[in-house]
């Protein structure tokens, strides 16, 4: 039987992901004073729990909503997040970033918890709106002397991996118990977001 597990292409993709995650730092074209950026960029999105919660929630919500949201949302988020990152890098100020990030976890978690099903455009707009805050935070926190290309790629790929993690977890949605589990996961994201909002306010 050609189940996804036994599909050579799926296995090949899994191997590629594994190899990719175990990748050594690339040292192409090192210049004086330039740190190597891929791993630094990769670590950045996964180093803050507030970012992780929101990005995994995007994947969970996409999985709940099904096609085409399952891929539109994870595509929209990194693209708009990069716009936010670009603004942060350019020094364009954006007020209330910490609130925006915490609110993103609360609302996205709530969307998963209550299995909210808005039109695709609304869901993408909501995800995109909050992605700007996440990107801006990353852009302004960027350490000096990094390789722009490698850092950017690491940063975006890590974000995509977090979405993929959310989608992976979200595949349990096909079962009744999985739907309940996803709602619980959404609730946990809300709790986490509330904690970060409380921290931002205090």
């Amino acid at each position: 039987m050609n189940t996804p597990r036994h599909n050579p292409l799926v296995r090949a993709m899994a191997l590629v992901v594994l190899v990719f995650l175990c990748a050594q730092t690339a040292f192409a074209h090192p210049q004086k004073g330039e740190a190597v950026g891929f791993l630094t960029g990769f670590r950045h999105p996964i180093s803050g729990l507030d970012h992780v919660l929101a990005m995994v929630a995007v994947g969970l919500w996409g999985a709940q909503l099904g096609s085409p949201a399952i891929w539109v949302l994870p595509v929209a988020f990194p693209m708009v997040m990069a716009v936010g990152g670009m603004l942060g890098l350019m020094g364009v100020p954006l007020p209330g970033i910490e609130y925006g990030i915490a609110l993103s976890a609360i609302l996205l978690g709530a969307a998963v918890m209550f299995e909210v099903r808005p039109p695709l455009g609304v869901a993408a707009a909501l995800v995109g709106f909050f992605a700007v805050f996440h990107g801006h935070a990353h852009g302004t926190e960027l350490p000096p002397g990094q390789s722009a290309l490698l850092y950017s790629m690491g940063f975006v790929i890590a974000t995509g991996c977090l979405h993929a993690l959310g989608i992976g977890i979200g595949t349990v949605h096909r079962w009744a118990w999985g739907q309940k589990l996803l709602r619980v996961a959404g609730g946990l994201v809300v709790v986490g977001g509330t904690f970060f909002m409380w921290k931002a306010v205090s």
Binding site: P8, H29, L142, M153
Partner: protein, 204 residues
């Protein structure tokens, strides 16, 4: 029965990908492999993500559009790269402009993410422009003409192999999710381009 070549494509892709990701320290212009200038040029390309990513994006885009686009890119890009490289050999110096590099990422990644229905002429033009631009940058500062020309051949060979593998890999994809995965890769490339653009503005 499955075609043996088709079933092995993912394996070939993995081997190439593994080779690329296990990058060891490289020095621009040119790092000696001890195996001669041909391999120096080949390794130079494989160790330069700023070259590999746009080529990969173009290959994926051409692959998504079908075999005819893949074939056109397969032959146009290496030839243009060689022409640009030979022109660059006679140039004194040229520095890659960060805005242009970001623009290539944005353009090719954006087209790929949008699954843009580009015509064969557009694919050809993109391949030619990309090849001439990157080839020219590679050609400058490569050193003496005789050695550099051989290194350039190695480099062009690597471009040919990469675009052949990547485009062929995508052309055979039929599953919807697999084609979406390719588009997601395009969105990541475009997003990286946006960040590079911000970086270029910051460091200007």
């Amino acid at each position: 029965m499955k075609d043996a070549t088709q079933s092995r494509l993912p394996l070939y892709a993995i081997v190439v990908f593994t080779f690329v990701m296990c990058a060891l320290p490289a020095e621009a212009h040119l790092n000696s492999t001890g195996m001669g200038p041909f391999y120096d040029g080949l390794i130079h390309f494989l160790m330069s993500p700023e070259d590999i990513v746009p080529v990969l994006a173009l290959a994926l885009l051409a692959g998504l559009r079908g075999a005819s686009h893949g074939r056109r890119a397969l032959f146009t890009l290496p030839v243009a790269w060689l022409v640009g490289g030979l022109a660059g050999l006679s140039a004194m110096t040229a520095k890659p402009h960060p805005f242009v590099a970001a623009a290539w990422f944005l353009l090719l990644g954006g087209l790929l993410a949008a699954d843009a229905k580009v015509s064969l002429r557009v694919t050809t033009a993109l391949a030619a422009l990309l090849g001439v631009y990157h080839g020219y940058l590679n050609g400058t500062g490569m050193g003496q003409f005789e050695t550099a020309a051989v290194a350039l051949l190695g480099l062009v060979f690597a471009v040919f192999v990469l675009i052949a593998l990547a485009a062929a890999f995508v052309v055979r994809l039929r599953a919807q999710w697999a084609r979406i995965a390719v588009r997601v890769a395009g969105s990541w490339i475009a997003a990286s381009g946006l960040l590079m653009l911000g970086w270029a503005v910051r460091t200007r």
